[in-house]
């Protein structure tokens, strides 16, 4: 009974993740597709915590839900008309896409089952403990260089995003002129 409920949690989370991801893939409404990602990211955070990675799960919510998803939504809202649907067809080669999806699925699933993973025999019942301090120690000892490079990368991305999004100074000046003439 306990084991059943324990696996049931996994199945519910997996269903939420895949269901909402499929909605993102097949929905015609771009805004709803973006909001559906909220459930995908939350379900994934749940799966990470289920698998014992509590820090990653929480970071997933903070960064994906609080950051990336909001950015995506801003992007959607800046580039679509208010009704949320473009007039033109949004997809391309749907039939071939689905065919490719099925073929790749049938190819990858056997790999997951055939490969002799060196799984620990008692892995499922391994006691779960907080991974926060081991991750902190790891980031400042063994993975110090990647950690520093990641911070540099974030700085570059920050500056790069600002430069790209603001556009050329000349374009901006023209836009400002148009604004005032419109007034």
């Amino acid at each position: 009974m306990d084991a059943l409920l324990h696996s049931l949690v996994f199945y519910i989370l997996a269903f939420i993740v895949l269901g909402s991801a499929a909605y993102t893939a097949f929905s015609a409404n771009l805004v709803r597709a973006a909001f559906s990602l909220l459930f995908t990211f939350f379900g994934l955070a749940g799966l990470y915590i289920y698998l014992g990675a509590d820090f990653v799960g929480i970071s997933q919510v903070i960064i994906y839900v609080g950051g990336i998803l909001v950015l995506l939504l801003f992007g959607v809202m800046f580039t679509t008309n208010v009704s949320g649907q473009g007039t033109e067809k949004q997809t391309l080669q749907m039939k071939w896409g689905i065919l490719f999806l099925v073929v790749l699925f049938l190819l990858l699933i056997p790999i997951a089952f055939i490969t002799p993973w060196s799984v620990m025999p008692d892995a499922g019942s391994k006691a779960l403990e907080s991974s926060v301090s081991p991750i902190g120690v790891g980031l400042l000892t063994k993975y110090l260089l990647p950690f520093e490079i990641a911070s540099l990368l974030l700085l570059i991305a920050l500056i790069g995003a600002v430069v790209i999004a603001r556009g050329e100074p000349k374009v901006r000046a023209e836009a400002a002129k148009e604004d005032t003439s419109a007034l």
């Binding site: 771009l30 994934l44 991974s131």
Partner: protein, 103 residues
Amino acid sequence: MAVGLEHCLVVSISLFLLGVFIVMTQRNGIRVLMGIELILNAANLNLIAFNRFLPNTDVNGSIFAVFVIILAAAEAAVALAIVLAIYQQFSTVNLDEISSMKH
């Protein structure tokens, strides 16, 4: 019945394929970005699952997953800036129509 490595792999494979499917078939640039996020998340799920089920992993899988999340954040910011810049130039984010190098 107990959840093992294979269960997680099936979920992550499905998620990855949905992501690839979005990237292949959708024409809207932002929808393509959503697909890329799904692919990155599928990779993360794999890292965490292997970290859980393989021996002597410590928290290395988690640390790699954290790096993937950092990269995803940087990627999303820059990619959306590019999409907005494209929208200013072309007034569309339909990737098929953005085919000229100059405007």
